[in-house]
Homo-oligomer: 385 residues x 4
Amino acid sequence: MSPTPRPRIPVGVLGATGTVGQRFLSLLADHPWFRVVAVTGSDRTVGKRYGEAVQWILPGDVPAEAAALTVLPTAPDLAGADGKEIPLLFSALGSDVAGPAEAELRDAGYFVVSNAGSHRMDHDVPLVVPEVNGDHLEILRGRKGRGAIATNPNCSTIGLVLALRPLHDRFGIEAVNVVTLQAVSGAGLPGVASLQILDNVIPYIPSEEEKIESETCRILGRLGGAGGGPGIEPAPIAISAQCNRVPVLDGHTECVSVRLRDSAAPAQAAAALRELDPPGTRDLPSAPRPPIVVVEAADRPQPRLDRGRGRGMAVTVGRIRPCPVLDLRFVLLSHNTLRGAAGGALLVAEQAVAAGLVEGVVSPVGQAVGGQLLQARGLKPRKSS
Amino acid sequence: MSPTPRPRIPVGVLGATGTVGQRFLSLLADHPWFRVVAVTGSDRTVGKRYGEAVQWILPGDVPAEAAALTVLPTAPDLAGADGKEIPLLFSALGSDVAGPAEAELRDAGYFVVSNAGSHRMDHDVPLVVPEVNGDHLEILRGRKGRGAIATNPNCSTIGLVLALRPLHDRFGIEAVNVVTLQAVSGAGLPGVASLQILDNVIPYIPSEEEKIESETCRILGRLGGAGGGPGIEPAPIAISAQCNRVPVLDGHTECVSVRLRDSAAPAQAAAALRELDPPGTRDLPSAPRPPIVVVEAADRPQPRLDRGRGRGMAVTVGRIRPCPVLDLRFVLLSHNTLRGAAGGALLVAEQAVAAGLVEGVVSPVGQAVGGQLLQARGLKPRKSS
Amino acid sequence: MSPTPRPRIPVGVLGATGTVGQRFLSLLADHPWFRVVAVTGSDRTVGKRYGEAVQWILPGDVPAEAAALTVLPTAPDLAGADGKEIPLLFSALGSDVAGPAEAELRDAGYFVVSNAGSHRMDHDVPLVVPEVNGDHLEILRGRKGRGAIATNPNCSTIGLVLALRPLHDRFGIEAVNVVTLQAVSGAGLPGVASLQILDNVIPYIPSEEEKIESETCRILGRLGGAGGGPGIEPAPIAISAQCNRVPVLDGHTECVSVRLRDSAAPAQAAAALRELDPPGTRDLPSAPRPPIVVVEAADRPQPRLDRGRGRGMAVTVGRIRPCPVLDLRFVLLSHNTLRGAAGGALLVAEQAVAAGLVEGVVSPVGQAVGGQLLQARGLKPRKSS
Amino acid sequence: MSPTPRPRIPVGVLGATGTVGQRFLSLLADHPWFRVVAVTGSDRTVGKRYGEAVQWILPGDVPAEAAALTVLPTAPDLAGADGKEIPLLFSALGSDVAGPAEAELRDAGYFVVSNAGSHRMDHDVPLVVPEVNGDHLEILRGRKGRGAIATNPNCSTIGLVLALRPLHDRFGIEAVNVVTLQAVSGAGLPGVASLQILDNVIPYIPSEEEKIESETCRILGRLGGAGGGPGIEPAPIAISAQCNRVPVLDGHTECVSVRLRDSAAPAQAAAALRELDPPGTRDLPSAPRPPIVVVEAADRPQPRLDRGRGRGMAVTVGRIRPCPVLDLRFVLLSHNTLRGAAGGALLVAEQAVAAGLVEGVVSPVGQAVGGQLLQARGLKPRKSS
């Protein structure tokens, strides 16, 4: 986890002035592998210094190095270079513009790790939580051309699949009922008006329930598509998600019930959750150890007290107990703008770099990690072209 | 609903200085049937004027009539009278003292309508939401002695059973998964510390889940116990409740999924909910018309916008849609200190008085209502002894 | 205060879909004098039914009568009529468009009562809080043409001048130091983002301090300008305002210190505040009686508990005590979207109508009120042309 | 600031289970000079492991070393030792018990650094903010007996005097008007009920205004009492404080106006604030560098964004501008449970230790600091007895 002596990899951040973009810059400010050399923004901000263009909403000041960068338009000729100079881009673009913009940049040769929803269900785009399905990144190996898009799931999905992964592997999940209590930071800025959420709950977040229901099945799905091709076969799990916005700044709470193929006592489930520790992510700078913290206190997890675990990258699970309707129920919490957005995407990028999937970038941890992606999930490596 | 010309019935409020007690006094300030003549409080407040003893937390000032009353100890010789003078008591006692205190007052001949949890599951105490199971009050008819206890369910249960009643009658409910987002006022004062709930969610409320799971089955149960006796046979419904405290002042939001015996399209369920209008409560002063408001907007109900419907006595239901795991899901909202506490208990008292169950008190709406309790639920009246 | 038998005066609401516009429609729904027959909105909403165009943020539903109106553009030919049919308009326009739009409507003959800041300091536009300086409306009497603009002060100014008026009359105010704690509803929608205000204070509201400092002097100023003309001579008071946004929905709290010409014990100041009861507003439908409520409890006023006094139209003052730096200090509270916006403007309109200042509209309370405007402030009436 | 190789000084924390006690343990967990070896608590907690006795409200878990300690009663024979073994105690006792308990421990020979208000105005107890009046600690030098009490001011006073110190030194402060917006954490647990503060402001905090008004004058006062004795002569400044509780977790905001002897342009005031850097605190582990951060953005400081500066030990000042009533006004923010409570007391202890004032403890930074206490304030050292 200590900085490597070799030069840090130059990266760009797309949509850098928004709330997710700010998180990216905050996390990348002292990153051992990456160094931000370009930021892009909307027409209103292009040409300004980032430090002047941004309405900074995180504690403290804008990171000095980023503050001095000039905001560029989101277009292929980033930094006026040919693309080789900035092999890796982080996308914090809004879903209104991410679709075509990211595709254009991929086609221009960039490796784009995106937090946007636009390409998550594309058959040639892996949707990845490294500890859960890092092996899905393999669909990018041997691809035509240098460019690629890899994506990070929806903020609510990430915490959920981290908790479901070990339960599914051990006991077989057949159905999931999840009700979320989501923080306002997930909506960005201006996002949820204070007049709407103070002393209130909004029991609806557009498209959120559909995303959780579809993304979860894809992420827990099997590498290797229906016809033996390189796609992902979704896991056959029935999922019901009900999403609420609550007056919390950061941290999504989720009340989960699951129906299992094999019976599981709460203590067995807790043990399975605690043991999640896939080899493919152990050496990545942003990976929390352990990824899942199981707490015993009856009234935990709580957003304000637990969202910071593992520097905002760990998921906290508590209240594991039998469910009178399905089989098992529990409460989970994850930090929605760290693990659930910028931090999660950063971890995907770290894994992709470590696995040698980003063309022109040598893995800081050796080629070993690449194989581990598959070994971690019990699969055999395919040949790289 | 207009005030009757006859003299109002003198009533007392037990535990009148707490948050629920304050709601009782607020609601009773201009009640057409009842007039508060006695208030009780803890040792710290006994002997003081109510207006000085109370830390009033509702908008505006203490109702003038109540402010002038002297706080009495919670004991049988209320007002120094023999009990006849105050036939009806409302109990806002905390669960730590309610059990023996209410029993003692019942034995002394008072008709006690309680918001406390202590006697809710007693076989000779009806647990009642008038529009749902007003007929359960019949177990008090022909009782030995004049005294009685009737109870109001837990604040989260009330909203739930109101929505479940018409669905159960029409489609047959087999299982319920409910996740609550509960307001802080439900915990009274000092209740939840601001330091615990600002920017936070607490995913645990002691005993709350158990109460919802057991009370719901009792309320939806059938009058007439197992052996043909006068008890209640609980409804055979599997229920899972997961309870959260959120930074909302008033109004419990509940995300509900149900498994049904007969299939129900969302529109059919909405129609069933809208049609709930039991004859046994129509003429009661505190009864909302209709009891259930079904809203169509995708982002409703919301606590701040909908908790006041029907003067805080109606339940609002929205987002009725199919459930991929069970059959149907929806969101409901009810005002936890009005419908869910003082207002709910007041409605129970009104129904008991209307049905002629409070000894020494003539029903303001005629004897007809008594019969309606049973007719409304499709049962035949038993003989009063 | 009871509805008059005569037909209600048709009025229009400009900018009706915003938060202030919604308050206007809510207050006008059952108004005894006025009836809303036209609403205007932005291009996005023109042509739609108001009920569909508005994102209603007040409790309950859109008033039925307003919901059915078609949203019109903000332009002189309202309702396709010649202006006579709608003599009175309420403006809830944003400050970005209010200036020219209101002037155009005035020139077209409408009497516009505006909540916007654009014309407040115009020499021919009265800036009025009826109980404070209703006589300033007299500058509209005998005006050329039928049209006029009358304005309502900034939301923070209104509460302040109500409390200052009787103190100034009795003791002579020389300086005022005011620090405000303002509710988020004052910023409208989207207004303050939840991400900015949860667990936070923003110690700055653009232009707010300047408005308080200048408007207060104008409102407390003397009718009759410098050269004996019809203008307003501002009161020579030094004012410092410091404004903060706090996570409160409705109700501005203000901590005030004043330097007085004549010494005033707290009890004398309280008496002066309690006695404010100008004859010129007594019979207006929206006027609170009394306009100022003085409370004794050490921890009052509080926004949530006191903002509703006088149906949101009264100002609550507490904690009156000596000031070690200036002379007297106290805390005041007023409801910023009722008294401080729509309700305040409505009261101005009522006073203007009562005083016979709205051409073509007969005063519902007789001509007497007109004279009272001046008599209430110790001035002689000028002739109406 | 790096840990010294010598053994860390054993310390105790009195009242360790409360919110301030928790902050002490959190700050002391990795302190380079101090090591917690004893914790005390109320009767309810005595004998339990601290980790079980405490209701931990800070993010993350109880520090492991503290969790294993057994809670002791607050009495002189701490750890069953003679007092020599634990030379230094931190008091987080409530004001209800702190007075006699701290006096008893002082008389038993302990050096007690207290956050409680009980002894702050005692003539032989220094009331200290190290960067402001560290020289006041000198009244403890040459004291009879080994024991002593040194105190930390009220949480609101600390931020204020830090900002006033350089202005007073440079321009001469004659009067101060301060209005505070205080966080709920200042009231501890249970403290302010959520039912009282959500969507609300409470314009009153018992005794707070008096504390600010008296403590500020003492802290800015001159070492050397009226008769040339060792006391403190208070600064002759007129101070008005008005205190409000707002729904913020941590961070007190203060709107300040000052009347100055010499005129000061805002830029001059800003420069004076930025230059505060007293030599007597430079090498203390908890001292922020700089102590005051001046920000330029119009809408800063804000509690959530600025309370963490200098690890919660720096004061942030913004909006420096002329005042139309007094001379200069500005907004300041300080973290009330770090700088304003446990962190502030810790800094006092560090300074006392560095100055050689704690008997039996060798200064980790050499004797030089002792002299600097006085030199920093332009005074000559007195002889130590």
